[in-house]
Symmetry: C2
Amino acid sequence: MHTDLVVALDIGGTKIAGALVDGHGRLLVRAQRPTPAREDGATVLRAVTSVLDELARSGRWAAASAVGIGSAGPVDASRGTISPVNIPGWRDFPLVEHVRERVGGLPVTLVGDGVAMTAAEHWLGAARGRDNALCMVVSTGVGGGLVLGGQLHPGPTGNAGHIGHISVDLDGDPCPCGGRGCVERIASGPNIARRALRDGWLPGPDGDVTAAAVAAGARAGDPIALASFERAARALAAGIAATATLVEIEIAVIGGGVASAGDVLFDPLRRALRDYATLSFVRELVVVPARMGTDAGLVGAAAAASDLPAGGHSLSCVPPRS
Amino acid sequence: MHTDLVVALDIGGTKIAGALVDGHGRLLVRAQRPTPAREDGATVLRAVTSVLDELARSGRWAAASAVGIGSAGPVDASRGTISPVNIPGWRDFPLVEHVRERVGGLPVTLVGDGVAMTAAEHWLGAARGRDNALCMVVSTGVGGGLVLGGQLHPGPTGNAGHIGHISVDLDGDPCPCGGRGCVERIASGPNIARRALRDGWLPGPDGDVTAAAVAAGARAGDPIALASFERAARALAAGIAATATLVEIEIAVIGGGVASAGDVLFDPLRRALRDYATLSFVRELVVVPARMGTDAGLVGAAAAASDLPAGGHSLSCVPPRS
């Protein structure tokens, strides 16, 4: 594992990033294109092949033994297709097949971006050495991934860990996903800002109405800004506690723009967790900030390719039953 | 696997049951004692050893190669201890050590009762052949267990799948567990009955105020009884959808007394599931009644002992990273 290089791709609505990643998680060669998100599918694919072509011009390309793709979801690892919400030209788009052709038959692993981030935190970040972990990104949306029994758990389609769309308020506000009271509907950056504005929070002279500005207000003691973070923290706590109660995790790692608010988020989150993580086997659960930076998607895509056989299914070696 | 016999124990607040279970899930020899739940721990232990002694008098005992214990929770499989809520004489009681001594060093596996029921449904019941499943008991309480990637997932302490105590209503009623708005607080039999009575449901001339009586009222068209089941169904749907969204399950199996209400529960549950299981990778999720009867605890304890190495940890064979 990790003695060869892995070709990593990070597919998002803003950029398509690629790298050759070594066995220590170092990005030896990089390439990047803006995502032509409003164009047709063939045009978006050309941006991917252009990234791969640039990487292939490196002398190190020949040492690559696998490809890992982390993509904005939904993905379907079982079929090798992706349908990123923010790239309308790709719906059930067979990205794995196209990439496999381009890389001469190397094994290709596809996972969702939350799973990729989790693989990175587990390999080299805040979940390192932990056998059971939830890793999350709280930003424009809320995503996540799971490590169970020491292994990444992408699930059959590569989407497991989608904590942003579990309901913690069954009578709550409708969520764009079609559900109600989802964690994301309460705790994402735009929802923190929306709730603060609705409740009378006044932005500063710069007119910044993002969650970062609300966080600054909360740090300065603004009660409405504090209340909006408190509400987000409760929703995150209920979702994290639900995850721990369902699958037994020992640590929750939180990254993303909203997490960079620091104590303004983590203090009420840790308090609220005591209200929801009540059973004996989840009471020791800790919540910590993520450690991997903006390269987590690429490092994690590489880790996922090393962790899993191609296709995204997790390895299992239980003898068959008689 | 399953070519030898397994000694199975099912520890509950009412009875302590034991059996020798063969590789086809047949209970070849049985023994049972009432649980002296109000007595001290040593007295409760004597009921267990008495069950084991009776099984040991069978000529088949010598073929036993392992012991599986399913117990009312909480359990701690990592330490081999149990603290069943309804058996106050046992707190952090080292049951595994006591049983191991009694059985001459055979490997002993301990799991929670929800995990045991899941192992039974996966082996021989409604989750057979499914690689990713949630199995639940909806009764006086709400319990459950998970099959992930084709294997039972008890978690490090044997408690995973505790769906009854995830919050689906973060501002909801306090639950005896210390949380709020837990699935069990809304969907258990006693809570279905409590809500119906509170809202004006009138029991029949027999004075039966159980959830079974409310179910009969619902079948006869009583709107308050129907509404109480509808509310329970929504809470179950939100919890099942959360589980599917977090770990990707393809089927939810529901047993227990409340599930025996049949369509009165399953019809609104399947409707509500469409409101909460919204993401592409969970839309195909099906919900079905359990198939294993009252022996599920014993069959499942045997299955868990065959599925897992002693100690309750799931097997993993990913090569270590360099």
